[in-house]
Symmetry: C2
Subunit: 344 residues, 2 copies
């Protein structure tokens, strides 16, 4: 038997890995990177309100409230507004503090892609059974390459057919270690998606990171309610130490489970990842907008309303946003921060 699940969508990020499109008020999660819908909209629609899911709780900063409301459209949701960024542990603590102890919270980033929603839902069903046995559940992605950009989770003892006790969390590895884990099996990527009973997480936070939970709890109690939004109190929330939920809770708790899944997941963490997922023509070019490509292969072109012409170019990204034009090899995508830092 599965309780109805409360989706909690973390919408506070403002990453620069997809600069120049992702910046300031138009963060990555609000961009239509893989189709007409933004990643945030896809995330909302992935757990539709109904028999299985409650309307989502959206955690976001003040600067993103307008974008959230615009993109929600007619979707029902409630908002918790963070007065300042305090990383994921404090954000999740706000949602936990507001929830009934027996509610199952499904915490999800707002800027990932999950192509196989049925597989995702099947994994959630497994995770829900474990969460009701007071496991804190994290979803692992079955790896198909020795990625060095993700943390890994080592599976321990099997928990029936639903998942595994987590043996340990592994920081972003060197390539050789990633290759070893891929070959050995029993490891998955940490996708930052969590499922737990609210009361169980409250207890874990009081044990492992009491200062974070108490600051969040007070920020909720002293918060201002405006319609469907709770604006957390700034004075109290500012007291919360800034830490990730992984460091603050997951790596410290001794009853954490992993549900491995293959669900077409990508964090779209670089323009190269966007190119990988985007529809491409016969020459491997992924184009958005008015682009003329001559003898050019494997490129990602996003014209931002301008007219782009490529002649004899292979495997580069040309990204235009407003007056900013970024040109780089796709395999240098991780270095975009240098430009973002110089420009923003």
């Amino acid at each position: 038997m599965t309780n109805i699940i409360q989706p909690v969508i973390l919408c506070g990020g403002a990453g620069t890995r997809l600069w120049p499109e992702s910046r300031g008020q138009l963060a990555k999660q609000f961009l239509p990177l893989t189709g007409a819908q933004s990643l945030f909209q896809q995330t909302v629609q992935r757990t539709p309100a109904g028999a299985a899911f409650l309307p989502p709780v959206i955690l976001c900063g003040d600067a993103h409230v307008t974008a959230v409301r615009d993109q929600l459209g007619a979707h029902q949701a409630s908002l918790i507004v963070e007065p300042m960024p305090r990383n994921t542990a404090a954000a999740i603590a706000l949602a936990v503090a507001r929830a009934d102890a027996d509610t199952l919270l499904l915490v999800m980033p707002s800027d990932h892609v999950i192509a196989d929603v049925a597989a995702f839902h099947a994994a959630i069903a497994k995770g829900a059974r474990l969460a009701q046995q007071d496991w804190i559940v994290t979803f692992g992605i079955n790896p198909d390459a020795p990625e060095t950009g993700f943390g890994y989770i080592a599976s321990g003892a099997a928990l029936g057919d639903d998942g595994f006790a987590v043996d340990r969390f592994i920081e972003k590895p060197q390539l050789a270690d990633a290759q070893k884990m891929l070959a050995a099996g029993g490891y998955s990527w940490n996708a930052g998606i969590f499922l737990f009973r609210a009361g169980r997480m409250r207890d874990a936070m009081l044990t492992h990171c009491r200062a974070i939970f108490e600051a969040a709890d007070r920020a909720v109690a002293a918060g201002m309610i405006d319609g469907d939004a709770l604006y957390a109190d700034a004075v109290h929330f500012s007291q919360a130490p800034s830490d990730s939920i992984d460091y603050a809770v997951m790596e410290k708790d001794d009853r954490v489970a992993v549900v491995p899944a293959s669900m077409g997941w990508s964090d779209l963490g670089s323009w190269q990842a966007v190119h990988t997922l985007a529809p491409k023509d016969a020459a491997g070019n992924a184009v958005t907008g008015d682009a003329f490509l001559h003898d050019s292969h494997g490129n990602l072109v996003r014209t931002g309303g301008k007219r782009v012409s490529l002649v004899g170019m292979d495997h580069v990204a040309v990204i235009i946003d407003g007056d900013d034009i970024l040109v780089m090899p796709l395999d240098r995508s991780q270095d975009v921060r240098a430009a973002a830092k110089a420009r923003e």
Copy 2:
């Protein structure tokens, strides 16, 4: 003894080799490609009116009259306006038809660079002595590389210290032939700069390309004079066969001389040539405008008022003009026509 020389500047071109900056009304010759002054302005200033040179005659199309006048500024000049393009033979015929027979005409393209003006003037002095002996003079560029993009001139018998009788003209060669000519010596590049007595060219045209000269002559006679400009008559001029002065006269006449010179000449015939001549930073990047370059080398960036960021790019051109953005490897510069054709 040298007569005063009448400069004739051919300004009719509208090449696409430097697209997207060069197009339509803003042709290559009017662009500030190598500094604050356009190539046309540099051409005008290269033969300043005074003891040696008369004010220039500018040959241009109707679409370029405004640009010519704007860029001439206070420089004195007269204009001959071609009602439609008919290639260089007919354009030169217009200037010849208007000139006194004993005037020395120095015909020059408006879109080349000559870095060493003193060497150019020294070559003109030699050429003028030959022109007064009724040689049709062409200026050859001493080659420093086996270029396949230029025609070559083979020198024949020496004409004192001033130059050589032309043995023959050679079409744009294959690389192996260009290498042989470079090794052998006695060959120069055809730069399209000519010096001759007007009456001598009139006679040559009446012999070699009578239809061209007669059409131009009638177009001048029936032309409309408006201040310092002669608008050639369209009906008559349209009768002129379209041919280059090289084919129509130079290759057919038996009294053509070449004056080889080393004068820092470039036809700036590609973005690669622009990069070669442009001032560069320590990493070999030539930048005009607001560009941020990270780990990028040997690039040509012209921002057109936008903000360009390059990350990990080497040896490419990024050229922005209005809403057009061109990206290509510099060594593919000759293929820019594909984009220009698709876009214009």
